[in-house]
Amino acid sequence: MRNLKTTYFEDLQLFKDGVHLFWSAVLILALFTLPFFVKTYYLTILNLMAVNVIVALGLNLLVGNTGQISLGHAGFVAIGAYTTVLLLKLGVPFIFAFVAAGVVSALFGILLGIPSLKLEGPYLAIATLAFGLAVTTLIGRMDFLGGRMGMNVPKLQIKWMGLKYDHALYYIILSITIIAVIAMRNILRSRIGRAFQAIRDSDIAAAAIGIHLTRYKLYSFGLSALFAGAAGSLWALYLGFINPTLFSFILSINFLVIIVLGGLGSITGSILGAVVLTYLNLQLENVVDIPLLGAALYKFSEVFMTTTGIANVSWVLTGFILILVVLYEPLGLYGLWLRTKIFWKRWPF
């Protein structure tokens, strides 16, 4: 039975009850105290996960909630990264460079959105793909952006209470990610987010109830690019070095894999997908080191494949997982999560 709601505001607030609030607080506290317990290497992984979460939030808004497709999101991440580095080199404080990264990327998102308004399916796929390709090719040709060689990212001057640089970076990225999650959650619950989903489900009905399709599709492209640009800004910071090949078509596909794996149209899905896939990719890079499985795979490779090509197992597995998700759990990890919750609520009955 549905609980009787005392006020409608309960549907809007961030935490639906005390239990929810408690566990969220525990999680956030754990994340913030982590640097005191773990090696820097693990913080780097968390940074990468967090950055992927931000891109996934944006991409999911466009793909999962608005029903468009993008095979060029790496392009927006690149624009964010390069804007940031360029401004940092000019001596602009990071906070402004970060905001500029989001804004410039959003403008490019709108720019890409304009020719894409009437496009669907494969046509939209090609247009976005072309965009991603154009961005990296053009950057590769611009000397003031370091061309193909790339450029170093200036280190930030952080002097907060004697915090180590790596720790400070982690805190910056973590805080921005939390803000991004909350902002996205609120946007999606609002009239704006509803309008996006209306366009996804029936553009004809959406227009008939007064939604300006052009405007809202551009909003969606813009917002999605804004998140990708912001993520790109942070990514540049913690990589310390950027070049155009980092932002290839494969990266765009990787982002798509994240949201499909996590769950289309779900914020929890974006987070789960980014965390799990980032972790999986890192593990599979050194697949031979995985206990038992690694040895077996090595043996198999010796006999049937090649041992030098064994790193390719990660592609095979990623592809296979992707297919399994679509076939058996279209809501992705989020769907799995929902089922587990229901299972535990019912347990042991």
């Binding site: 009905a205 008939a208 109830i209 007064g210 300006h212």
Partner: protein, 264 residues
């Protein structure tokens, strides 16, 4: 409001390739009227609605709403002008709840910008206040259409009859002056159809909304309409009171040409 007719279609023409779907159609609708359009399958009824609501661009003619020309406007502008509609084959937002579907009907009345909506989870934010205010209106509609049990369900999981009601609710949430209903009772059970008749009358009588109705069920049309327009092959057969139109020999002939609509 007195100088011009409330709603008027003047010499409307719309064709698809060689097919004249709407041919020199001409009619007007008075304020607070329930006006029905009937005709056999493929007569061009839905096409008239699609022209009114801006989905199709007619080649010739005028569509005037409170003196304002609608042709050339986008569907969302026409919704803003005060015209809402339902669709013959349901155009619901299938992956959303009943509540969200009807809340979307409030979209054009809400003003929060993207930046403002970022603050939605804070009780004092403008976005939250606005959201709650409109939520109240939506709850009234849910009460009116007796959709409480369906409120938090995804509409794709609802039975067909309920889905039709959600679509009606969404159109009502626009608080329109003119409501276009494309076969609201098609596919409903006898009981559901009677409820629908009752609601449509209430919509006119209590809410003061003018209704244009497309319907195949002649009993319902006769029962509910102030005036009827009968069309075939996109052209007018006749227009007038239910008695005049339903007994018109051409109308009877047009319907005899195909599977007889129920209870003529």
């Amino acid at each position: 409001m007195n100088k011009h007719t409330f709603f008027e279609v003047v010499q409307l023409n719309k064709s698809f390739g060689g097919l004249k779907a709407v041919n020199q159609l001409h009619f007007d609708v008075k304020e607070k009227e329930i006006f029905s359009i009937i005709g056999p399958n493929g007569a061009g009824k839905s096409t008239v609605f699609n022209c009114i609501n801006g989905l199709y661009q007619p080649e010739e003619g005028q569509i005037k709403f409170k003196g304002e020309e609608l042709i050339g406007k986008r569907p969302d502008q026409i919704a803003q002008a005060g015209i809402a509609r339902t669709f013959q084959n349901l155009e619901l937002f299938a992956h959303m709840t009943t509540l969200d579907n009807i809340l979307l009907g409030r979209h054009k009345s809400m003003k929060a910008s993207i930046l403002a909506t970022v603050g939605l989870s804070f009780k004092r934010s403008k976005a939250a206040k606005e959201e709650l205010e409109h939520r109240r209106k939506v709850e009234e509609i849910i009460d009116f259409l007796e959709l409480e049990a369906a409120r938090d369900q995804f509409v794709s999981n609802l039975p067909y009859g309920k889905q039709k009601l959600v679509e009606l609710g969404r159109a009502l949430a626009l608080e329109p002056d003119l409501l276009l209903l494309d076969e609201p009772a098609a596919g409903l059970t006898q009981e559901e159809r009677e409820d629908m008749i009752f609601w449509i009358k209430d919509i006119r009588d209590l809410l003061g909304i003018t209704v244009i109705l497309i319907e195949h069920n002649m009993q319902m049309v006769q029962n509910i309409s102030d005036r009827i327009l009968a069309i075939n092959f996109g052209t007018q057969i006749t227009i007038g009171t239910p008695e005049e139109v339903l007994n018109h020999p051409e109308v009877i002939k047009a319907y005899l040409g195909e599977d007889l609509p129920s209870t003529l």
